[in-house]
Amino acid sequence: MRYYRIGGLLVESSLALQGAIPAPPGQPDVVVRLAETPRELPNATIAGPNWVATGDTFLLKVPNVARYLIVGGREISIEVEPGVELADAQIYLLGTAFGMLQHQRGRMVLHASAVALGDKAALFCGPSGAGKSTLAAALNRRGYPCVSDDVCGIDFSSGAPVVLPDGRMLKLWSDTVSHLEMGERQGPAIRQRLDKYYIEPESVAVDRALSVAAVYLLRVADPERKPGVSRLGNADAAVLLRRNAYRPSVINKIGLEAAYLGWSSGLQRHAGVFSLTRPFDLAAMPEVIGWLEDHWRTLDLLPAAA
C-alpha cells in the first residue's frame, strides 16, 4: 500500500499516484483501490453526460479510460479500461474523483491553486488554461510555498474557511516550464498526448491547514477590463465562485447551489474575493506579483514595505 496526503486527507492507495505527495502510513481517511466497478447505479436519481449519482455515491464514467466509484467521502474504486495506462486513469482520479469525494465530505471545492502567506493562504481561481498553475509556480519561485494546485478543498466546519493542504505537484505546460527555468525539475509527462509536465514545487506546505485570506478570480486584461486587483461585489463574487466550483455542471445537478451560496458568502465574510486582471503574458509576471504583494500589504498579510 502507498500513502499520500491529498486535500489534507491521508489516502491509502493500491496504485502509485503520480503527482501526489507521499505521506507516512497511518489510519487512512480515504482508501483508493483498483477493483471491479459497476457500469451503472441502479437507483441513480441524478445524472450528467458521464456520471450518475445517488445519495452518497457518485459514479464517474470516462469513456475509453476508466470508471470511478466514489462512496461516502471515504472510498474510491477504479476500474481501468483494457489497454489504458494507469497514468492516464489517475488524471481523473486526482481531478474530478477527488473533487467529488471532497464534496461528499461537505467541503467547498474550487478550481484553484493556492500559495501560503505565513499561516494564511491566497487562492487563484480560473478555468483550465487561465494561468493558475503558472502564477502559483512564479509565486513559489518568489518564496511563497505552494499549498495546492488545480483543486482546492475548503473546509468551513469550524466557521472560518480553511484550505486543506494538497501538495499535489504543479501542472504546467512545457513552454511555461522553460520560461520559469524549472526545466531541471520536470517529472514525467502527465499524459502521453499532452505536453504538460508535473513539476515538484520547491517548497510545499503539506502539514497544516491554512486560513483563507484572499481569493482571486483570474481575468485577462482587455480594453474594457483594466489590469489590477479589485474587490468583487457580493453578487459577482457568488456567481464567479460557483462558476469556478469543481465542477459547475455537477454541483448544479447534485443540489449544491445553496451550499455554494453559503460558502461564497463565508469567503467574503472571513477573507475577501477579488478579481486579478492581468495581461496574459509571462513577461508581465513580475509586475503581476508586484500588484499582489502590494495588495497583501494592504490586507496586512505581508509586512509593510520599508
Binding site: A237, S264, S265
Partner: protein, 99 residues
Amino acid sequence: MGANTGADRITAETRISRTGDWLSADTGDGAVMMSPSATEYIGLSGTAGRIWALLETPRTLAELCAALAGEYQVTPDEVTGDVREFVAGLAERGALAFA
C-alpha cells in the same frame, strides 16, 4: 411592474415579509441572494443589506422605515421613498410579499 407589487401600492401599513423562495447569505458588508432556480443572484450592500436583514421579521413599511431612520440618524420621511422602491423591486422578483 406587476399590479400587486408596484411601489405606488405600498402604503405605510403594508406588511412586508420575505417569501422564503430566495436564499440569502450574509457577506459581512451586506448579503447575497439567490433565486429559487439558482440562476439569478442579487448582491445587497450597505442599507440594502440592512433592509433585507431587518425583514427577517415581517414589518410594515412604517416600522421598517422607523427602524432604518433610527440606525442611520435620519427621519423616516427621508428614507421612505427609497425603501418603497427597493422593496417593490424585490417583490417584483418574488423575494418579498406584501399583505
